[in-house]
């Protein structure tokens, strides 16, 4: 039984390698193999604040955190309620506005995920991720 199980495991593991290698060869020239794509552009609080009304601030945190406090004028757009929140964001967006997405702190990734979806799913450009997130904003705006 053990030998049969091991054989089955090895066979499945090996079979999966074949198309994976083929697909990897197809993507072999993609620069993303070496480093994460730089299209997730980070921006500091100082730079983003300097954009003034040209910046569209998006809060990628959960609803309850947004309600406790957020960047003035920021709109809520998180992955939990993506479909419900996205239309309002698209209505507020215009091609000349830069989108600044933030989440809780430097270790959070919701802002990266939202920025990625805005580029991939909504096809938006000029999407930036705020370095340090809401925590950094609060430090610079006590």
């Amino acid at each position: 039984m053990r030998a049969t199980l091991l054989r089955q495991i090895l066979l499945l593991v090996g079979l999966a390698f074949l198309p994976a290698i083929g697909q990897a060869l197809y993507f072999r020239n993609d620069p993303a193999w070496q480093a994460r794509p730089s299209d997730q552009q980070p921006v500091t609080v100082a730079v983003a604040t300097g954009w003034g009304a040209n910046a569209l601030w998006l809060d990628a945190r959960p609803n309850e955190e947004f309600e406790r406090g957020h960047v003035p004028g920021a709109m809520l757009l998180n992955e939990d309620n993506w479909n419900a929140l996205l239309p309002a964001v698209l209505a507020a967006w215009s091609p000349d506005r830069k989108i600044v997405v933030y989440c809780s702190r430097v270790t959070c990734n919701a802002s990266h995920a939202v920025a990625e979806r805005l580029r991939h799913d909504a096809g938006l450009k000029n999407v930036y991720v705020l370095e340090g997130g809401w925590e950094e904003w609060q430090k610079t705006h006590p």
Binding site: I9, L12, A16, A20, Q23, W33, T107, N109, A113
Partner: protein, 155 residues
């Protein structure tokens, strides 16, 4: 009398077999769907892996190319009952790994989207993902421990 009892036992075993087969198809379909959802955009999946901040980016990309295909093959194996227990073993190990990583990331304040179903699952909250993972693992455990019944009918 003894024959009656034998027929009842046989029927019960057949029902159990049918339930396990249905369960295997359902679990297999979930893995097949998860694999296909990710295989179409491996770099997007690599980004989801990278969000966990556990492994280097270059390793994450390699996993992003491999893991969806493993899920697809395991899903097919579960559906068509070929290499069955190998698939149950691998998918169970994957579920334990996914659950562990998700809980670890959450405990370390890493606010991360699961990425389990590519962009298709982004609307699922973490709690739903965890519930689905636990349900899948429970189903896989049932399939694993039901192997004696499978054999009894196959005989």
């Amino acid at each position: 009398m003894a024959e009656d009892s034998s027929v009842k036992t046989r029927r019960r075993t057949e029902w159990a077999f049918l339930v396990r087969r249905t369960l295997a198809v359902l679990v297999g379909a979930v893995f097949l769907y998860a694999g296909i959802a990710k295989v179409t955009d491996p770099m997007l999946f690599a980004g989801d892996i990278g969000n966990y901040q556990i492994i280097p980016w270059t390793l994450g990309v390699r996993i992003a190319f491999y893991l969806p295909w493993l899920e697809i093959f395991c899903g097919l194996a579960l559906i068509f009952h070929r290499l069955f227990f190998g698939a149950v073993f691998i998918t169970s190990a994957l579920m334990i790994l996914f659950l562990g990583i998700t809980i670890w990331a959450r405990a370390h304040g890493i606010d991360v989207a699961c990425g389990c179903f590519g962009s298709a699952g982004s609307n699922l909250s973490l709690n739903w993902h965890l519930a689905l993972d636990v349900a899948l693992l429970a189903a896989l455990v049932a399939l694993w421990f039901g192997r004696e019944g499978n054999r009894a009918v196959a005989r």
